[in-house]
Symmetry: D2
Subunit: 332 residues, 4 copies
């Protein structure tokens, strides 16, 4: 950690601060330039509250040097991690597509969709049983019943299932789910992360609405530091001022993560854009950015009316998207 002191800091203030650092067990390397004093702190700085330091009047800036993520860091683990989701591998050259409806609605819907996405080449089935909705009055999912329907769809198609968990006390309900999804709104629900860390289940960790790449890696670290190494990161768009798309799909984060961490990285063009017409190009963009997989919403629409009006990602359209994903993969 480096602390840059203001020019106005007095000798007395500086030595008080140095004493305090030393009382915290740190070695302090002090170097004085023309205008500025820099303190290099050596030792275990994890107990130092960086925000507290930044608030001090004599401090201009504080910078962590060593990256605070250890287990997720490619520096200490250069080879790619491969996560195995009940036989479907992701990472280290293994590419996986998770597809399915936003919410599990009924048996016919989830089974038909599961068959369709499998036929098109998806290797994992996604579907929401517990839905984090902005409003308490909106549909919250089928809960346990939804999980049972997903399991039924798995029995029929053989596709391992991915579903979102919202609270530690749901872990027993998710015992037979192959991959736990942690949603954007829970990326810093640290108690949930710790509880999942105590299992060995693969977990798809979505980026928070306005999380930095480093905060996101620290959330992966929460899971890993409890003993669960099976973390997959999922970029799903960040919140910006742009309103044309639902979020802004940060594909450069995918490329950056492939440098920073050995964990598999997945892109979710459906949530990122909120627009059917943008799913195909954004799926390809994620692939060429280095993604190890994709999560895509596919709607089976028994209601012909909406389907026709919507031109949303029907199973037929998904076939086309899968072809373009394959093309994009072919050039890497």
């Amino acid at each position: 950690m480096i602390a840059v002191l203001k020019e106005t800091a007095t000798e007395q203030q500086i030595s008080n601060l140095v004493n305090w650092f030393e009382s915290q067990g740190l070695k302090v390397n002090r170097s004085k330039g023309d205008f500025v004093t820099i303190l290099g702190l050596i030792g275990d700085t994890t107990k130092i509250d960086i925000d507290l330091l930044r608030g001090l009047d004599i401090i201009d800036n504080v910078m962590r040097i060593s990256e605070p993520f250890k287990k997720a860091n490619r520096k200490f683990h250069p080879e790619d991690t491969v996560v195995d989701i009940s036989g479907v591998k992701i990472g280290g050259g293994n590419f996986a597509v998770m597809a399915g409806p936003c919410s599990v609605e009924n048996e016919e819907q989830i089974i038909e969709t599961a068959k369709a996405v499998k036929a098109a080449g998806a290797t994992l089935l996604r579907g929401g049983a517990y839905k984090p909705r902005t409003s308490p009055y909106d549909f919250q999912g089928l809960h346990e019943e939804g999980i049972k329907l997903l399991i039924k769809a798995r029995e029929i198609t053989g596709l391992p299932i991915v579903s979102e968990i919202m609270s530690p006390d749901q872990l027993s309900v998710f015992e037979d789910v192959d991959c736990l999804q942690v949603g954007a709104r829970n990326m810093q629900n640290f108690d949930l992360l710790k509880a999942i860390g105590k299992t060995k289940k693969p977990v798809l960790l979505k980026r928070g609405l306005s999380a930095t790449i480093k905060e996101w890696l620290m959330s992966a670290e929460y899971i890993m530091s409890e003993g669960n190494p099976n973390v997959i990161l999922c970029e799903r768009g960040i919140r910006t001022y742009e309103t044309y798309t639902r979020n802004t799909f940060d594909v450069s984060a995918i490329s950056a993560l492939k440098e920073l961490t050995h964990l598999p990285v997945v892109g979710d063009p459906s949530h990122a854009t909120g627009k059917v017409s943008l799913i195909k190009p954004m799926a390809m963009a994620a692939v060429v950015s280095g993604a190890d997989g994709l999560e895509i919403e596919v709607h089976n629409c028994p209601k012909k009316a909406l389907s026709d009006a919507a031109q949303q990602l029907t199973p037929e359209q998904f076939v086309g998207v899968m072809k373009d994903i394959e093309k994009a993969r072919s050039i890497l």
Copy 2:
């Protein structure tokens, strides 16, 4: 709800969509302008997935008309709500200051700070026992021991206590805490909100890092819809591109909330700015914006060295801030 259709929508597509809306139990009011068709949807639209609609190719825009927050809405509850925290009232003209350290560290620290903030005029004691830290390697708080020390400080000073809860399973530990705080990172931890909603405990709901005012009110609605009306909203700064301050303190949100909701609103200048020198003006700015209270971090620093270096908000400085808060209140 209003759906604006694109000019390119065909008659067939439009009537398919109208049929689908009607199958969802809605009445559809269709009006055709020169370039555009507008569908007004009347009835219970809470089951309609607005994001799904926005993704449809024939749809230009969708807008909710009626505000989806009911219980928090001033329209349906014009008079101010007064929340009673073990005898300390907030809202409806009652102003309260919650002060104390970021984390409870030890008995001496919390009791000395409690005495000091009480002497300066604070009416509630805040202190963290469970700390949401970005890194799993950073200090996570004293947990149950921290709650016990807060209770001890309350016994000595009489100040009701406010502390952050991070998970539903901590509710039993917080049974004797006067006011539960839900942190920014958990503003959309809906399972936590629902669990708190089943109690009657006063709750201080902080704004999420990048939550809109309406999303924040919907989170209040989650608590209220479960039966707990004792919600206090706390503006603590939002995430922007500006790096000089830790967050950007959105005082206009305080004024806006006083129009939109009957719930008490509190400002937290400490977290919003991250700079000691800005706490005093920002506390005053919150007050003139209409805040019903303030949450301010006060550090008791037994380590003289850091205290001298830091010039942080010591009990002595807090006395000065309280005087300026009083001045600001005097002109309203």
Copy 3:
């Protein structure tokens, strides 16, 4: 334009507002739902100040229905525009790569770089002569001398040149420049846009630091409405809270623009990311998102020392990037 009135609006207030709209020459279509009154405004609403309306107490929301960009709109001009930059075509299936140094520094540098980028397959030479620097004390470019050196490089290599113009009074200096670049900071320098609109010169219009897609199209409209149809849009990353990359590269904006407008769209991965290692994947991501071209910074580094340390985009590395760009193009 649609105005949604608040429930609290009185009959008297509504009819006053309707009268005012009618006095502005608009036809008003009034429809009353259960909770809300909606006014549909038909006619020329360009004189209505939408921000003024939004500020009115009785108004809940105002929405423009017809897109305010006409000349740039694909709806009214479905076929792709092809811009011809002194013989190099871009748009409508024609792909162009603009490469060269950030700043023109001296004759050797620009000519060597020009030769190198041409050899690698670039078809346009970029180089800054007038540099918009945050600080007045930073290097501002060689100005007229820089333009002369670019022209010399063009004479030798045959590559048409692209360079940034910062003020209308520089137009005479740029008379022999093939394509004018308008930088992000000047995207809403409307006097500059109008002046350029009066020429017929191709113009590369960069997206503003925090411009929405629609604002950007309106800036293109400024140029086009003055008579110059030769506008190329350039996505160069937007400002967000993420600090790992210099900006956040919004490739979904490229795909969105290909739907919304007939103008060519170019991506600039160099400025978007600020990191050499991310240029290759982001160039490919832009291509699969539908970009008609790329702008890439290539540094000729006579100072061997920096070149070795930097591993920046040297002419040699640019050859590799060009190969990957070709691969990405091959699958479209």
Copy 4:
């Protein structure tokens, strides 16, 4: 300037980089910690392109130590600057209110409004003659005619006038305007800043839509470095994801600027919020944050209909706002 090198940097790469820095005339102070090498650069670093350095593969982070603004810096000029606008002083304890319509529309409007705002206590008249509009089809202002009407209003009321300039070639038209306003969209129109810097005219420099405080100060520095010290900074809200208000009013920036610079700082609650009901609390919040003045839009509405519907800031309401501003000033 400090450069932190990555752990992976080889000795050869480091010494190449050090050589390059030395060839740029800098002294390099190299310190090696356990994991990391830090280079402290001493000398004139203004020619070093910080973005170029950040892109280098061996570099982890680069930090400027000395603030790059010199003339605007309170450190080198501790006492407040007082700007004199044709006899009306602002800064150093002198408080000024600039009020008037968004656009000058006609003689009756501007003169009636000028009289009204003067009667209410405003000391400067603002009004737009050149309007930066997002759309080329929207009203662009009365131009020279607008300036003439402002001058007429000044003759009648004695209030010095403030109006927005958009291009250096308009300087002659603004010769008789007392204070030039540079709008948010032109905050980094460096040619305009330089041209204004060559005059001695007071200038009101608005913050850019997404400008950091430091970028804003650097724009002030552009004007000052050309010889014009009469710069007033105006906070007018920044662009965030929040849509309830037009922008997010960053009052903490006002307090921060009062520490960082000796220049006067003004708040503009009208543009910041876009909502009439928020003007009064936000005007007061700006005052207690340390603002030296306010800019407020006041509409004279001859069209009774709109006035009644709108409840916008009429001259009558402005009287109320001025009273609250006075109250807020009384407690400082």
